[in-house]
């Protein structure tokens, strides 16, 4: 569906001079600095995938999304979506895609939600039957009925986001870009939106690219994760792989059947004790948990064992931290 090859986007930051003559000089001046927001990233995304696109602020996420949606023209590299170069055939591309910018609505400020949907039906030339079917389905899934007649400007953030989502999927796009669709929402609203995205992706086989800072979104929705920082892709693969590769220490909780003075096992360290219950931490790179349990069983009698994998959030924080320490020699003073 999406093929990106060595995609680059550079921004020119012009110097601003003040005053009237400064303004005149600005018009002709060429003095600027170049900032590389996206630095030779390559990836492929197949139809029907639901991909999480992660990265800290300023990593290049939004810039990538803006190139994918046809808003920005890449500085170099190749990009095709369903065989189309988004910015070259912008209108054709726009017809097949949907987009939600969590930070800013794509709807018309003064129109009631239902009229907005009606207007979109005209713009996207959605057949009457398809329109009614989708609107009904989305109203149901997102609970739109309570504010269908409210102007967009009077909606709460959660309502606005739901309206935006419905609008983005209304014309049955092949691909949808969601740029931070859960930003600033409460737990219930987030849950509802995640449920909606999952349902649509599953039922309509819509390809979804999702950027977010909320790792709950990722854990609940994405089988595949791409992580970007400083314009480069740090990781691209299955979520489980991300966790196991970068997750660092896993935890093993053992309930011993008897009291032991020495409870050590090879390859793991004790991080907590509570009666007969001992928690070990170990690195999962290598052979997994099998040798640990072998050693444990040889030395001790145990009643119960449970294994805890690190959660996504810890994993991703570790990646960011690792990346930062690799790339910055000087730490901030306390």
């Amino acid at each position: 569906m999406i093929v990106a090859k060595e995609l680059v986007k550079e921004y020119k930051i012009y110097q601003h001079r003040r005053g009237f003559f400064g303004a005149v000089r600005n018009m002709f001046s060429t003095s600027h600095t170049i900032v590389r927001a996206v630095d030779q990233i390559s990836f492929r995304i197949a139809a029907g995938e639901l991909v999480g696109y992660l990265g800290p602020n300023g990593a290049g996420k939004s810039t990538t999304i803006k190139m994918l949606t046809g808003i920005l023209v890449p500085t170099s590299g190749e990009l095709t979506i369903g065989g189309i170069v988004p910015w070259r055939e912008r209108v054709k591309h726009a017809r097949r895609m949907g987009v939600v910018f969590g930070q800013r609505t794509t709807l018309w400020w003064d129109l009631p939600v239902i009229e907005t949907m009606d207007l979109l039906r005209t713009i996207y030339k959605i057949p009457q039957q398809q329109y009614r079917r989708n609107l009904e389905m989305f109203t149901d899934l997102l609970g739109l009925s309570e504010f269908l007649n409210t102007p967009v400007r009077s909606l709460s953030l959660g309502q606005r986001m739901r309206a935006d989502l419905a609008a983005a999927f209304l014309h049955d796009p092949e691909i949808v870009f969601l740029d931070e669709p859960t930003i600033g929402l409460d737990v219930l609203a987030k849950e509802r939106i995640r449920q909606f995205i999952a349902t649509i992706n599953c039922e309509k086989k819509t390809t979804v690219i999702l950027t977010t800072h909320d790792l709950g979104d990722v854990a609940k929705l994405c089988r595949r994760v791409m992580m970007i920082d400083h314009g480069k892709v740090l990781f691209d693969g299955a979520l489980a792989e991300l966790v196991s590769r970068f997750g660092g220490e896993r935890r093993l909780v053992v309930d011993f059947a008897e009291e032991y003075d020495d409870q050590s096992i090879a390859g793991a360290r004790i991080i907590a004790k509570e009666g007969r219950k001992v928690t070990y931490a170990f690195h999962s790179n290598g052979n997994g948990v099998a040798p640990l349990i072998e050693d444990l069983s040889r030395k001790y009698k145990w009643a119960d064992i449970s294994l805890q994998d690190p959660d996504v959030e810890t994993t991703i924080r570790r990646i960011y931290e690792q990346w930062e320490s690799d790339h910055s020699a000087t730490r901030l003073p306390c």
Partner: protein
């Protein structure tokens, strides 16, 4: 149309404002019967035509006026994700009805001036050129609005410079070009050929010498094409600008 009174007052204010131009011209002619061979009715025709063109351009291209704001607020991103032409979307993003004030004034001035300049030898020229010239003028002003808007893609300041051309140009073109300094005449003939919006065709129709502009009379018949040309160039510049659009931070 939520605020009817406010709307009517605005139209009225615009209408009156536009009449100040005319009043100035009338006062000028109370001191002299003619200005470099142009009498009041002839000058008023120039004024009426340029105002009509300007008002039409403002009416059609009102969206371009607010484009810098759209860029700053990130609204242009929304335009670009819709399956409609960006030029069309921006142009129609704002329709300012109050500008009917200037349009009405322009048309009224033409209506009053036209019978007074009427002569059988000019009737063919007037009939053939009046509407195309006004339309060409509107396209020319529209082209300037488009260029002004496009520049906002690169910079948010320095846009006021364009007022020299739009409002200043409108002011100059409200008078016969003969009265201005040669530098100004050449500028509006060769560099920014706005004299073709009204002065050159009107002078040619009425058989006045085109010495002020320094162009052969036959070229006057092609005046509206300068508007079309300016518009097409501006349209291309617009596309070039959109390709270089950088958007705002997330």
């Amino acid at each position: 149309m939520q605020y009817r009174t406010s709307f009517l007052l605005e139209v009225l204010a615009n209408f009156c404002y536009a009449f100040i131009d005319l009043a100035a011209t009338i006062i000028l002619f109370t001191h002299t019967p003619a200005l470099k061979g142009w009498n009041l009715a002839e000058t008023a025709l120039l004024l009426g035509m340029t105002n009509t063109s300007f008002a039409l351009a403002e009416l059609i291209g009102g969206g371009f006026d607010l484009f810098p704001q759209m860029i700053r607020q990130g609204g242009f991103d929304q335009v670009l994700v819709r399956p409609l032409g960006h030029f069309f979307q921006v142009m129609t993003s704002e329709f300012v009805l109050r500008r009917f004030g200037r349009l009405t004034q322009g048309l009224m001035v033409i209506a009053v001036a036209l019978p007074r300049v009427f002569a059988w030898k000019t009737v063919f020229g007037m009939a053939a050129l009046l509407l195309p010239v006004i339309a060409g003028g509107a396209l020319f002003y529209l082209a300037i609005f488009i260029v002004q808007a496009t520049v906002a893609i690169w910079t948010v300041e320095s846009l006021e410079v364009f007022s020299i051309i739009t409002n200043g140009g409108n002011e100059v073109l409200s008078h016969p070009l003969d009265i201005f300094h040669p530098v100004l005449r050449r500028f509006f003939t060769y560099i920014l050929p706005m004299a073709f919006i009204n002065y050159i065709p009107v002078a040619a129709i009425m058989g006045k010498p085109l010495t002020a502009a320094g162009v052969p009379p036959w070229i006057a018949w092609f005046s509206p094409l300068f508007g079309v040309g300016a518009f097409l160039l501006a349209r291309r510049f617009w596309d070039y600008g959109v390709r270089h659009y950088q958007s705002t931070g997330s």
